[in-house]
Symmetry: D2
Subunit: 283 residues, 4 copies
């Protein structure tokens, strides 16, 4: 592990940069101050970049728009790769017909629409249509009643032997300096534990999201894994996943991993990034 | 393992009978038909019995009353031993002062009242009183708003390094022939998983509830573990816990374990009762 | 899920077939009787196929040779994709210099040789060279002394904060009709549990081995995931992994999953293949 | 949590003291220096004490003798309560006849001898006597060949649906300042994971060992849980178990928990002792 002072030094050594979103580019208060300088520099020197995020609550277009509203206009929708996109690919490839029931907002459900499939909130599943439900997707922690719909999700999965897909593996996300909020990955873990079946999870640290991004690049140019660097604030997702996929990795200390804890956490987990850098903001 | 036709044969061989409640004495529809014959017989032959239950939603008095309403008038409050009683003992012994925050109904909170402690629902905890919260108790899946109060419970446990007590280890309970409901043990497991701390769990299969019952008996008479039999419908709680405590055990097939699955489940879990009997109803 | 009588029917619908090895092509007694007919047919109709295996005990060349010795001469080394190859890719990309310590036979270590790295058995690590150890790899359950070398592996990982790579996720493998043997994945799980660090695992059900095979094909021809079918005998590895990667899947009943248990296991795990077929032998 | 300077202050407030052995009274180098002063003081003021240990490798008499040899002559065999004693109680109560197979030394097996049972090492189990094996006990990490006997243990448990008892829950134990050794609890966890059955574990933090000690005291005098204090060096076993049983607890910093880590570990685990004291040696 090498300590790097200026993030620019890292950029200069790679062809493509993968960024985690939360804790790297933005936090609960808005953008990480100064982060637009990094994206200006990337444009200037003509480096490619992608946002590789476990946020499945909105479509890439909506996620890009949310950056624009915050003042980071550089990020286009086609630069955003979310675990929700892998969920959509799964449904396209593996579920032919019938109803896909979901837990999440209408927005989150919109972009998993797949031809031939009917997307319905869990609350709309009843004795009349349950036999047509061919998949259940955990998309977002909002948009449904936790008591009635989590119980309903458990019983759908007891009655129907169908795939359950978790579009976001995160258990919780920061809500403010002090507080967190339970994420859909946390709720899905409880349901999985209760029904005793094996769920399918997309999102870092799983390799499939990195491959999705890697394939997007290879569609228009040759690239080698050694030319890509993954930047993230969380050892267990960004760094572990990037390492395993064979990428160099940067741990930044602007989010989940505090400067005071970084060394202890690397030692206790055994997850070590290629570099540690205070922030992804260039100097 | 011995297959027994008439439950009476088992009773005749022991001094004391421990019964699980759900799936043995009652189910979602009311009493197990004919079960009052068993309790009449116990009275007649002068055998002692206890209901040893993971139900922490109500006090022993309220639980006994619920049997009376259903027509089983034999069961007195002092025959009911619940995991909630161990929670109360823990608070009495280990928490001296301040607030005990809880998730559950007001009824469930009533009987954990302990001298010197102030019992408050999680929804009543705020920035003004959070520093006085000295324990958090998971009592029942009802009586609170899942979205706001589960998030609140997570954040209380992140800010306060206090014991979290789970008064019911069950993950789900049957609601009807087809459906189950998520139990407080399932919700607590999710919160534990998110905050990463070690919770304290009371209830079968943990030995402490068996010891509580065993001690109650020894208060007024000598008894040996070989003279007690535990009757339950669930291998992972009633039978595993009874076996480990050193008791003989009876698996009845009137609840969680269906006659068609009994052998497969014993083989796959390695949990084997002393006897298997269709029902706790005597012939 | 569709029940298929003749495996030929499945072959005819896909461009490429991925086969698991153990329980599909061979078992403890040798080849699955008649399996050469399937490979003759694949040659005849010009379908591509790959053996996708969690066996990291030998190189692809040695694995291919072992088929030849058993009489299945069709399988060339370049058709064999093992989790050991991903381990080698990881070392090539992520470990620059120093010693790679391993648990396994010399044969298993041979093919993870990577330029610039020095491969040494765990038994050869001592106070003089431990500071140069930059990775520890779990390759095979044979070739070392379990008592001394498992203890040594634990202590290497306590002293050095380095990646631990598990080249085979399987916990056990069949040794005869009745008995199994503990596999290196089982031993690695124990060591991981004791040192409390996060290990990197390659092999089904993880997606990365499927990507590796998928990329090999795409190097010389265009292919779509819908044109590939994965054939395996184990729900938790072959079928779960294939499904998640977006492939159609075939469960064969000639190995880990017995005909009598197939339905129960699909229901209890929630893992459902596209097809179930008695065997990969064509009629 | 209160910080206490002199351990004597704690002794003075309780009727009975429970001591963990390793890290409190002794360590890999011998006795904790000065610890005999503590036991002299206990004698002097007439306080009772017990050694409550997860060490099942030897009988209480042999454990006491090992203290005598090290110069701590105060400790009599009847003051030692080990998880092995609970294993013996289990066998006495729950296994009537046949063979008890074990992993461990002959010494460790000697004291689980139970009338009517035949105790045999796992290595002595074969096709002729396997059908008489009615329990398998994990006693010690020494006294057997790890490769052949761990594999044998797995296959015994696959063929016989019998209880597997783990007499020591510890995963590892310290061997020197720098190194640890895998304990029988770690090996048992691997076997349990592979065979997929539910094992029975005795030893801290489980309540049953505390009950056993508590019952021993009550056999000859009345005692209240508030009059007992548990002293240990490990949060996850001594302190968690003592707290749950309702005892006051002391974390000493002479073993597993280093002074520099104590606060971090209490915060990350949520396990908080009543007192923290550098050592159990009085001043």
């Amino acid at each position: 592990m090498r300590r790097i002072e200026d993030f620019r030094e890292i950029i200069d050594n790679y062809e493509v940069v993968f960024f985690d979103a939360f804790g790297v580019i933005k936090n609960y208060g808005g953008l990480v101050p100064g982060i637009e300088k990094t994206f200006d520099y990337l444009e200037e020197v003509g480096k490619e970049y992608y946002i590789v995020t476990n946020d499945a609550s909105r479509s890439p277009a909506q996620l890009a728009e949310s950056y624009h509203k915050k003042g980071l206009t550089a990020i286009a929708a086609d630069r955003v790769i979310s675990s929700g996109m892998l969920t959509k690919e799964y449904l396209d490839l593996k579920v032919d017909e019938g109803i896909v029931a979901y837990l999440g907002t209408e927005d989150s459900a919109h972009y998993i629409d797949s031809s031939g499939l009917h997307t319905l909130p869990v609350s709309a599943i009843n004795d009349d249509n349950i036999d047509s439900v061919n998949a259940l997707v955990f998309l977002d922690d909002e948009g449904f009643d936790w008591f009635s719909d989590l119980n309903r999700a458990v019983n759908i999965l007891r009655r129907r032997n169908i795939p359950a897909i978790v579009a976001n593996t995160d258990k919780a996300y920061p809500l403010s300096v002090k507080d967190v909020s339970i994420a859909i990955g946390g709720l899905a873990g409880m349901v999985e534990n209760i029904v005793g079946k094996k769920f399918i999870r997309f999102g870092k640290p799983d390799s499939q999201i990195f491959m999705f991004a890697y394939d997007l690049i290879r569609d228009y140019r040759p690239i080698n894994k050694t030319e890509i660097v993954m930047v993230g604030d969380t050892l267990q997702t960004d760094i572990l996943g990037g390492n395993k996929f064979g990428l160099d990795t940067v741990l930044v200390l602007s989010g989940n991993t505090l400067p005071a804890d970084a060394q202890t956490r690397m030692t206790s987990t055994g997850i070590v990034p290629t570099y540690v850098c205070d922030t992804a903001v260039i100097k």
